[in-house]
């Protein structure tokens, strides 16, 4: 067990060092920030649509989605780093040296959380500067907890794909499903205002529950909390198994 945590710390420390010596580590925040500016700035009048009921306002409505996108993309980018480590040969040496290889997955996940903290803070600061209110008080910590869980789930997914394919060409395979899950949710209006196929898909999308609960926390009106945390926990469990499967395939490949 000691080896497990030792390996995790070593991998996390190296990865975090890499982040802070490369300004590109904030790259996962770029698209969410851009979408936040574009949607919160350009679509404010969508908040005037009859039936649009969100007490914290449209900027806050979009901020939650941007935050969850930033932390999820942070997970995806960690997958790109893992794929890069396989391509440049580092991961092979790491696998040979690690006394407990499962610690590698935990190490990358810990580093991803550090990155998500930075990118999430950046998105939050920009949102506050643009006038977003925080009306939920301590409920805001519920939003942060959901963001952390979303980051872990996305990292485990990215890690699984990266270890399975072991090439940076796996980028679209990691990025596209995460992007689709994020967009096939109530991005612009609440679920109750969606119609047609997008409503049906959004209702089936597990991310919708997480997004709705996160928005509820920010507005000080927690909703679907139990289902959001349960879904997050199930996702993490399933994706942890997926990451372990990827690791075993990487071990077999040598």
């Amino acid at each position: 067990m000691g080896g497990f945590f030792q390996v995790a710390w070593a991998v996390a420390a190296r990865q975090v060092y890499k982040y802070f010596t490369n300004p590109a580590f904030l790259a996962p925040a770029l698209f969410p920030l851009f979408f936040f500016v574009a949607f919160a700035g350009g679509l404010t009048s969508v908040g005037d649509v009859p039936g649009f009921e969100y007490a914290a306002g449209y900027i806050a409505f979009q901020y939650v989605w941007a935050l969850l996108q930033a932390v999820s993309m942070g997970g995806a980018f960690t997958g790109f780093s893992i794929a890069g480590d396989f391509e440049n040969g580092f991961a092979r040496r790491l696998m040979l040296a690690a006394s407990n290889r499962y610690g590698i997955i935990l190490g990358y996940t810990m580093a991803s959380l550090v990155r998500a903290t930075m990118t999430g803070t950046l998105v939050t600061v920009i949102a506050l500067l643009t006038g977003m209110p925080i009306s939920g008080g301590f409920d805001f910590f519920g939003l942060i907890a959901l963001a952390v869980l979303a980051n872990i789930a996305a990292t485990l997914f990215g890690a699984g794909v990266a270890m399975l394919l072991r090439t940076q060409q796996a980028g679209p395979v990691i990025r596209t499903p995460i992007f689709l899950v994020l967009f096939l949710a109530p991005v612009f209006v609440p679920l109750s205002l969606l119609t047609g196929w997008i409503e049906a898909v959004a209702r089936l999308n597990p991310f919708t529950h997480i997004l709705q609960a996160a928005r509820g926390f920010l507005a000080g009106d927690p909703t679907s909390v139990a289902s959001a945390f349960t879904i997050s926990a199930i996702l993490i469990l399933v994706l942890a198994l997926w990451a372990v499967y990827g690791l075993r395939r990487a071990e077999k490949a040598g």
């Binding site: 851009f34 574009a38 350009g42 009048s45 096939l184 612009f188």
Partner: protein, 258 residues
């Protein structure tokens, strides 16, 4: 060099550019699939926006139809710019300059490829849009004008892609410009009419952003019919972008081969 031999060179390089694109199914699929996917998601997700008082149509699907056409032109420009940069990186461009072939033919060939891809995208998106239920108010004539404006936009963006490729000679540099193009599209009237944008700073950016007028030109043919002002502005800005971009690309080319 006679005009006909120049044309032969352009055609040869356009053929090479087109064949190279066709041999990369991922590029074709991305160029066709992603804009339609975003269109479909945005049009459905923002359907409620058509209930905003003063919204110009009761169908957000119609309103949003300009989006895939503009976005596809952007994808085409990045793809073509990357291909040109790859030619420079791989030394093909230098070898070409040792032959009697004029380097400007390479630019012409690349832009011909962009026009071909823009034409394909315009026709495919129009067909899919009609199947999805988009109602083109200007009728069959308007559809031709939509494709024409789309091709012109693709040519203008292609010229910008060429400037980036020639000046940097780096595929990575051209690819990294993608988010900037993407931002420029969203900071326009692509999602809402300018008079319904509440934030003053955003409305100001959308007003000075030429992409708003390209979008509004295409959109007018879909939701209004024949609107001379919107069309004049759309074609005017598209033509200006083409002239500036291709002029800039030609000047950059002269600098590179000098």
């Amino acid at each position: 060099m006679t005009g006909s031999s120049f044309l032969t060179q352009v055609l040869a390089l356009a053929r090479r550019s087109t064949v190279r694109t066709m041999r990369q199914p991922a590029v074709i699929i991305s160029a066709l699939f992603f804009p339609m996917m975003f269109f479909s998601i945005n049009a459905s997700g923002l359907d409620a926006a058509s209930k905003i008082p003063g919204f110009p149509t009761d169908s957000y699907l119609d309103f949003a139809f300009a989006f895939p056409l503009i976005q596809a032109s952007l994808f085409g420009a990045i793809t073509a710019g990357s291909d040109l940069a790859r030619d420079i990186e791989s030394g093909f461009f230098d070898r070409l300059s040792l032959t009697p072939m004029r380097p400007v033919s390479l630019l012409g060939g690349m832009l011909a490829g962009v026009v071909a891809l823009g034409l394909l995208q315009g026709v495919v998106f129009l067909t899919i849009g009609l199947l999805m239920g988009v109602d083109i108010s200007s009728g069959l004539g308007g559809m031709f004008v939509i494709v024409l404006l789309t091709v012109l936009v693709a040519l203008g963006f292609g010229g910008i892609g060429a400037i980036l490729a020639i000046r940097t000679g780096s595929v990575e540099a051209v690819e990294s410009a993608f988010p900037l193009f993407f931002v420029a599209i969203f900071l326009s009237s692509i999602n809402l009419p300018r008079d319904l944008i509440e934030q003053d700073w955003f409305r100001f950016i959308a007003t000075i952003n030429p992409i708003s007028y390209l979008v509004e030109g295409i959109r007018s043919l879909v939701i209004t019919g024949w609107d001379p002002q919107a069309l004049a502005l759309g074609f005017g800005f598209a033509g200006a972008i083409v002239i500036v971009a291709i002029g800039g690309a030609a000047a950059s080319l002269r600098t590179r081969v000098a």
